[in-house]
C-alpha cells in the first residue's frame, strides 16, 4: 500500500513545491488568484448538495429494498444498470431528457402543470440531477446493508412502547443505520469532489469545479506544479472533512449501542 499508493501520490504532491523550481510560488499564486478559492468553494458546495440529494433519495429507496424482499432484486437492478453505463452516455441522456424541449418539459407542458419550460439543464439543477444519479448507488448499498442488519423486532418493539412512527424512526432506526448512511455519504462526498465531466456537460457558466482546472493544468498547460498544488488542497480538505464526519458519526451511534 505504502509503495504503490503513498509513494506516487507523495511524489506528485511534492511537485507543488518543486515544479517548475523549488519554492512556494505555486502556493503564492493559489493565495493571490481569487479564482482558485472560488473554484474550491464551488466544488465543495456542489459536493455537499450532491451528498444531501443522494441521502434524501437513497434512504427511502434502501428502506423499501431492505424491507420488501419481493422488490429487492428489481430495485437492485434499477440502481445498478445505469451504474454500468459510461458517464458520458448518461450525461448526454440527461441532456435529451432535461432540455427545454426535452421529454420532461414537453410532458409537463402538455399536462398543463407548467406554462413555461423549466430551466433544468445548463445550471446547478442539471449538475445535481446528473451527479446524484451517478453517485446514488454508493449510498444505497451501504444503507441497505445497515437496514438489513437491524433486528426486525426493534421497530415493532418501539411502537409497542408507545413511540409513533416518526419518533421510532428518529430514535431507533436512524441512529442504528447511521454508520451505513455515513459511509455512503462520505464516499459520495469524496467522489463528488473529483467530478468534472458531469458539471461540464450539464452545468452552466458558474458551475466550474476545481478538478476541471487540475485537468487543464496537466493536459493543456503541462503545469504539474500548479496541478499538484490544487490536488494537495483538495486532498487536505477531504481529509479534514473525513475526520470531522468520523467524530460526528461516532457519538450518536455509540450512544444507542451502549
Amino acid at each position: 500500500m505504502a509503495v504503490v499508493f503513498a509513494l506516487p501520490v507523495g511524489a506528485l504532491l511534492m511537485r507543488s513545491a518543486s515544479d517548475p523550481v523549488w519554492g512556494l510560488q505555486n502556493f503564492r499564486s493559489l493565495w493571490e488568484e481569487p479564482v482558485y478559492a472560488s473554484l474550491i468553494r464551488n466544488t465543495v458546495q456542489i459536493s455537499l448538495a450532491t451528498t444531501i440529494g443522494c441521502i434524501l433519495l437513497a434512504y427511502p429507496f434502501a428502506h423499501v429494498m431492505a424491507t420488501q424482499p419481493r422488490l429487492t432484486r428489481l430495485l437492485t437492478l434499477v440502481v445498478l444498470i445505469p451504474f454500468w453505463s459510461s458517464i458520458l452516455v448518461r450525461s448526454f441522456a440527461w441532456m435529451v431528457l432535461l432540455q427545454n424541449n426535452g421529454i420532461i418539459n414537453e410532458s409537463l407542458l402538455w399536462l398543463g402543470v407548467i406554462g413555461q419550460p423549466l430551466e433544468l439543464i445548463f445550471n446547478r439543477t442539471g449538475v445535481l440531477i446528473g451527479m446524484v444519479h451517478v453517485l446514488l448507488p454508493f449510498v444505497v448499498f451501504p444503507l441497505y446493508g445497515s437496514i438489513r442488519a437491524m433486528d426486525p423486532a426493534l421497530m415493532p418493539a418501539a411502537a409497542c412502547l408507545g413511540a409513533g412512527p416518526v419518533r421510532a424512526f428518529l430514535r431507533v432506526q436512524l441512529p442504528l443505520t447511521l454508520p451505513g448512511l455515513a459511509t455512503g455519504a462520505v464516499l459520495v462526498f469524496v467522489m463528488a469532489l473529483g467530478f468534472f465531466i458531469t458539471p461540464a456537460l450539464l452545468g452552466g457558466r458558474r458551475d466550474a469545479v476545481i478538478a476541471r482546472m487540475i485537468q487543464l493544468q496537466v493536459s493543456q498547460l503541462g503545469d504539474w506544479g500548479m496541478a499538484a498544488t490544487l490536488s494537495l488542497v483538495l486532498l487536505v480538505a477531504t481529509l479534514l472533512l473525513l475526520g470531522a464526519s468520523q467524530l460526528l458519526v461516532r457519538s450518536p451511534a455509540r450512544r444507542v449501542a451502549e
Binding site: E33, P34, V35, S38, L39, N42, F92, M95, V96, Q99, N100, N101, G102, F122, A200, L201, G204, R205, R206, A208, M213, L216, V218, S219, Q220, L221, G222, D223
Partner: protein, 354 residues
C-alpha cells in the same frame, strides 16, 4: 459521421484511394517496400476521425512501403510529455492541436523535422513549423437554425450574434477561452488583422452583454447536440459538425464570415526510435491524395491546396481552406495562445464564475 452518407460515395472514394496509392507506389518503385519489417505507432484523436486518417494516410502508405502502422490514441498531451520526459517514447507520429504544438515545440518535446525528406513546399507556409506539419484545418463558424432564420435575414457576422433584438433566442459558445475571446472582439468591431494580442478585458465586457443568453459547450458532440435539438438558435461550432448534422437532416446553415481557423499538426515526439519511417509518413501526408481522401471521408480541410481538385465538388463549400473563403476567415494565432493560455484561462474562469 453517418454511415449511410459515406456508403453512397463508396465507389468514388475507393477508386480515388486506389488511384492515390498506385501513383505513390509507382513513384516509390525504385525503393520497393523500403520499410518492410519496420513498425511505427500512429496516434490521433480516436473515433471516426482516426479511422479516417488510418484509411487516408496510413493504409496506402503501409501498402506502398511495407511499413506496419499501429494505431493508438486518443492523443493525450500529458502522456506525451511523460513519455518524452522519461525517455520511453512509444508514439512515433502524433496528431496534435496548434496551441499545444507551439508550446511543446518551444519546450523541446518534439524531433526537428527533416525537410530534405518532407517536401514542405506542398503545404501553405502558414501551416508548417520547425517540428510540425499541418495536416488538417478546421474552423469555428457561426451556424444558425434555418427554421428560425430565413435565407435573407440570418446572422452572418459575430456582431449579428450579439444582436439579441434582431436575432432573438439562445446562443451557444465554446466554454474555453480560445476562439470565444476572438469572436467577442470581432463582434465588438476589432479588425481581424488587429486581433492579436487579444484585449481580454474588452472581450469579457462584450461577453457580459449576452452572457445570460449563452449556452456553453465543452465537447464537439455537445455543440452538435445543442444546435440540432434547438436549445440554441445559433452558435459557434466546428464546420465539420455542421456538415454532419445537415447530412443527418438538421435544419442548419453556416456562415464563413469571420470563421476562426485552426490547424492540427503531425509531430514526432523527441526520442522516437523510428524517425526515418515517421518522417516518410509525414511526407506522404503532405501529398494531395491522402489529404483529399481524408477530406472526402471526414470533411476536414486540407493544408495542401492541390488536394481540392480531388475532393468531391459538393464537399468543397464546407471546407475551411477553400480559396473562396480566404479573405473571410481568420487564422487563430497559435503563438499567442502558447504564451497566454495560462493567464487568460485564469481570468476567463474567474469571469465565468461571476
Amino acid at each position: 459521421m453517418s454511415q449511410t452518407s459515406h456508403d453512397s460515395h463508396r465507389i468514388g472514394r475507393r477508386s480515388l484511394l486506389a488511384g492515390g496509392a498506385t501513383l505513390f507506389a509507382a513513384r516509390a518503385a525504385h525503393a520497393q517496400k523500403r520499410f518492410e519489417g519496420q513498425r511505427i505507432t500512429y496516434v490521433s484523436w480516436g473515433g471516426a476521425y482516426q479511422d479516417g486518417q488510418k484509411k487516408a494516410y496510413c493504409d496506402p502508405f503501409s501498402e506502398a512501403t511495407g511499413l506496419r502502422i499501429d494505431q493508438d490514441g486518443p492523443t493525450d498531451y500529458a502522456k506525451l510529455r511523460l513519455m518524452v520526459g522519461s525517455g520511453r517514447v512509444v508514439w512515433d507520429v502524433v496528431d496534435v492541436g496548434a496551441a499545444f504544438m507551439h508550446g511543446a515545440e518551444q519546450q523541446n518535446l518534439f524531433e526537428k523535422l527533416d525537410y530534405s525528406v518532407i517536401d514542405r513546399s506542398r503545404i501553405d507556409p502558414r501551416y508548417v513549423t520547425e517540428c510540425g506539419v499541418g495536416n488538417i484545418v478546421f474552423s469555428y463558424n457561426l451556424a444558425y437554425s434555418t427554421e428560425r432564420f430565413t435565407a435573407d435575414n440570418h446572422p452572418r457576422v459575430w456582431a449579428d450574434f450579439w444582436d439579441l433584438q434582431r436575432f432573438p433566442g439562445k446562443r451557444m459558445l465554446n466554454a474555453s477561452a480560445p476562439s470565444t475571446i476572438e469572436v467577442a472582439l470581432l463582434a465588438d468591431g476589432v479588425a481581424p488583422d488587429k486581433l492579436y494580442p487579444l484585449d481580454i478585458p474588452r472581450a469579457l465586457r462584450k461577453l457580459d452583454q449576452i452572457k445570460d443568453n449563452i449556452l456553453w459547450w465543452e465537447t464537439n458532440s455537445q455543440s452538435q447536440q445543442i444546435l440540432v435539438s434547438g436549445a440554441a438558435t445559433m452558435g459557434m461550432i466546428n464546420n465539420g459538425r455542421v456538415y454532419d448534422s445537415v447530412q443527418k437532416g438538421a435544419k442548419l446553415a453556416l456562415s464563413w464570415e469571420q470563421a476562426i481557423q485552426s490547424v492540427d499538426y503531425l509531430v514526432i515526439p523527441r526520442g522516437s526510435r523510428n524517425i526515418a519511417a515517421a518522417t516518410a509518413l509525414i511526407d506522404y501526408v503532405t501529398r494531395p491524395e491522402p489529404q483529399a481522401e481524408f477530406a472526402n471521408l471526414m470533411v476536414f480541410s486540407p493544408t495542401n491546396r492541390e488536394a481540392f481538385r480531388l475532393i468531391r465538388p459538393e464537399l468543397q463549400e464546407w471546407l475551411a481552406t477553400n480559396p473562396a473563403y480566404a479573405d473571410k476567415v481568420v487564422l487563430q494565432d497559435g503563438l499567442y495562445w502558447r504564451d497566454n493560455l495560462d493567464a487568460v484561462n485564469r481570468r476567463w474562469t474567474a469571469w465565468r464564475l461571476t
